[in-house]
Amino acid sequence: MNKRSFTAPYIIWIIGGTLIPLAMMFYYGLTDESGTWTLQNILAIFEPGNLRALWKSLLYSAACTVVCLLLSYPIALILRNVKRAKGVIVFIFLLPMWVNFLLRTMAWQVLLEKGGVINGILSWIGLPKARLINTPGAIIMGMVYDFLPFMLLPINNVLSKVPNSLTEAAYDLGASKAQVITKVLLPLSVPGIVSGITMVFVPALTTFVISNMLGGGKILLIGNIIEQEFTVGDNWNLGAGLSIVMMIFILVSMAFIAKFDKKGEGLA
């Protein structure tokens, strides 16, 4: 047994789990039903329905990313200064991730439903019922809830690695608290922010489960379109073609990470 044979499981995994599916996706995406080569499945992204879904996906996942960032950064700053029980606080943030995310999304259904928990409380204190579920807000809410840890962890990783001596030196030289944050900590945490953004943006962009469960079938994101082409539409070629388009977005995000996070700090 030489060392190289240890890589066999990995290579089999990569071939079976990544290369073959990718090749099939490209084959389906670039052919039509009769098997002739065509670009029409890729260009189908420009059809009004698909374009609208793509636009909505970009919009919602951008909103989700911004909210995640605004929530995570202050928490990460606080965590940096926590001396004791830091592990416990991070643990509390990770705890929900141990529950399957479908279940967590279903829990939101129960909360947001017209006869659900939140509306129950509203009417109990005498307020009118609100239309919560089946709205863009519900979907973004679900996305934020599911993807928040993916933003918090990389930022927390990077920020907690910044040596205290740096901030102390800045204070010594007369910097205010705000200046320390904007001039020292923020620039040093860019790799973490960038990888957080991609790790939230990419899965939010392609989700179809959250929009299905919290959108009541009324809001179609690009992930739903692809899913429907494979299931309801029975058009695997179009589904694969649109998936290729989504891959382009993912590749752009990865290039983005590579540019800002050269040492891979944020991914640790």
């Binding site: 329905g49 579920i133 009541g216 429907q228 309801v232 539409g233 029975d234």
Partner: protein, 358 residues
């Protein structure tokens, strides 16, 4: 050296195959000890499966799906080999016209004699002579509303689902062909239209309605109506009966403009592992007492004339229920779905996508 090991391997494999094959020959004449069933979700009394297993000694492997559109690619790709599948009439037509079905030998299904006239009459339109399909349940598509929230008698036609006073109270079906029944009947078009202009009009109507709709669901509609998350919804007659059982204030109407009548049937895919087992299953399902159990559990109209008599005897109050035993003139006003061909399917799908993405 290499050649010899290959020979050994072949020898070993063929021995293995013989060893595996032997017990089957000894036992009954049977291609398989398993029966793979593919059915709609919550569409059978689990006891029926147990009874079938006990009686035949077969093990039933039971899978479910939500819509015909989801089931079709599974059957057509042949990726999973099911012995018997439950399909709606328009999918039955599409499946046999595309050559995915085996003919059912009705000699092996003696209980076929119980199938009632309505089912035989409509079968001529999608499967003449019941060559490929045997009915399991049937019913209509209509509107169910909660008479505590909407006054009884207010709802009589599809266009009532477009009234703005029902904002956020309307449930529509998340199923391509079913949802288009409403606008197409309202406009007076056939629910099997192949005209792009007519579908355009129907889609525009549905887009107009979308703001009023609470959500698009399939099986869950009944739960939303029962827990009063919504007051009014498009629904299958059987689901309506289920709701009425739980809540007497639920009122079912078949809209004046006409509607869809549907038949869910058992079919045998061409790649089935055991046609014989499948026919055993189909015959079993046509027994009057099994039909009655199915009715009690699922609550749809039965194709079985003997079961009908049992229901009328057991529940005399249901004889007038239009959701269960609709009048012949009501049935004549309805239309079944037809398989419209791949191009029209694609057109429907594009319109539907436009509606959903709007």
């Amino acid at each position: 050296m290499k050649k010899r090991s290959l020979m050994c391997l072949i020898l070993a494999l063929s021995l293995l195959v013989c060893a595996c094959a032997a017990p089957v020959e000894e036992g009954e004449e049977r291609d398989s000890n398993y029966l793979y069933v593919y059915n709609y979700g919550t569409y059978i009394d689990p006891d029926v499966i147990d009874m079938f297993e006990e009686e035949t000694g077969l093990t039933v492997v039971y899978d479910v799906f939500d819509t015909n559109e989801e089931m079709y690619p599974v059957i057509s790709s042949g990726s999973v080999k099911y012995d018997v599948v439950c399909a709606s009439e328009y999918t039955v037509e599409k499946l046999w016209k595309n050559g995915y079905l085996s003919e059912i030998n009705l000699d092996n299904v003696p209980n076929f004699k119980y199938v009632n006239d309505i089912c035989r009459q409509f079968a001529e339109q999608f499967d003449p002579g019941n060559k490929y399909s045997v009915p399991y349940n049937w019913g209509t598509v209509g509107i169910l509303y909660n008479s505590r929230m909407i006054e009884e008698g207010e709802i009589t036609k599809w266009s009532d689902l477009w009234k703005e006073e029902y904002f956020d109270e309307i449930m529509m079906m998340d199923s391509l062909r079913d949802i288009y029944v409403a606008p197409l009947c309202m406009l007076g078009y056939s629910i099997n239209t192949t005209s792009e202009a007519e579908m355009r009009e129907a889609t525009d109507l549905l887009i107009k309605q979308k703001e009023l709709v609470y959500s698009y669901k399939t099986d869950a509609i009944r739960d939303f109506l029962l827990n009063e998350s919504a007051a009014i919804g498009q629904i299958y007659s059987g689901e309506a009966l289920y709701c009425q059982e739980d809540d007497e204030d639920m009122v079912y109407v078949v809209p004046e403009e006409g509607s869809n009548i549907w038949f869910d049937c058992w079919v045998i895919p061409k790649n089935a592992q055991s046609q014989k087992n499948a026919e055993l299953w189909i015959d079993f399902m046509l027994r009057p007492e099994i039909g009655f159990m199915t009715y009690e559990y699922v609550g749809y109209s039965t194709p079985n004339s003997a079961t009908e008599e049992m229901i009328k005897e057991e529940y005399p109050e249901e004889i007038d229920n239009q959701a269960l035993f609709p009048d012949q003139e009501l049935v004549d006003n309805c239309e079944i779905f037809h398989f419209l061909g791949a191009d029209v399917d694609r057109m429907y799908n594009n319109f539907w996508k436009e509606l959903k993405a709007y």
